[in-house]
Amino acid sequence: MPLLELQHSLISALFQRDQLAEAAKRVKAQGSLSSEQRVGIYRNSAHGILLDCLESLYPVCFELVGTEFFGRTAHNFIDQAPPTSPFLADYGAGFVNHLAEHPALQEMLWIVEVAKLEWARHAAWHTVNQVASDFAQLEGLSEAQQAELRFQLPASAHLISSNTSIHSIWLAHQEEYPEKPQFEKIDLQEAQQVLLFREQRRLHQTTLSTDDWAFLQAIQQQLSMGELAEQFADQLPWLFSVAMQEGWIYSFTTTPPA
């Protein structure tokens, strides 16, 4: 059998239980271990690593649903969606949709919302660093250029709007926050808008007011300074002040988006 075919056969066995016997035909038994058991060691090892990975990506969901449910759901997910990238940090995005489709969670979709937040935290953490603009250069712009200015959030920024109090639920499950809310007292139906972004080695996660949310969405949609002035009128200087001081705005351009 060509090596490539042999490798595919083994990979199939790792992520499809019913292919295990087929792959085992090419493996010798040794000592007390049958050939299927020997292939099974590789399957268990691959699943174990990916289960650990999913547990570390979704620690609050893990706590919310418990070890047994999480383990069973994760093993099904691993079989359905094995890694397609050699970079482990790419793995696990699809777990959110997998949870969303789980019949047992249809009455508790707030858990899926928390999973979305946890994946966004992971994605924000692994975003490539970027160079911040020098805002002193704004001084030399003409009036026309000023009206065409467009601003950017940090590349790692995620704006998440949820009909569930995802930020409070997440906080309630963090050991290192002494003033964390008690989970039992959280109103799960409270809608929350959350901004996530990474600043060097620190991940920021904060809830936004309705005004700040609308403003940052407009920034993300690449509205020009002229359009922002139309939309937010005399609130605009204040909205920018807060956003700049909080580190929500990272760069600017005078070039219209393509």
């Binding site: 009128a233 005399d234 605009l236 002040s241």
Partner: protein, 85 residues
């Protein structure tokens, strides 16, 4: 306010906030040093002792595993040795 006035006021607000952020960042700059002999297993900052990188220290308080601390702190910690660079 007219749009032109709003834009002028906004650019002033951005300029002030940016200047404030730079000043705060300057204030926050702290001189640091590498400190060995005090690191808990798995909590080291970067490569040393034959392993690849941060978080790989296998035992507590091993010489050669370091973390970054504010300058002057290391010599105040029992077992701490400043790494000469």
């Amino acid at each position: 306010m007219q749009n032109k006035q709003i834009i002028t006021a906004t650019l002033m607000a951005i300029g002030l906030s940016a200047a404030l952020s730079v000043a705060t960042a300057e204030d926050k700059k702290v001189e640091t040093e590498k400190c060995t002999g005090i690191v808990k297993a798995g909590m080291n900052d970067c490569a040393a002792n034959g392993h690849s990188c941060a978080g790989k220290a296998a035992k507590d308080s091993v010489a050669g595993e370091w973390i970054t601390v504010p300058k002057g702190t290391c010599e105040k910690i029992a077992g701490g040795t400043v790494v000469k660079e």
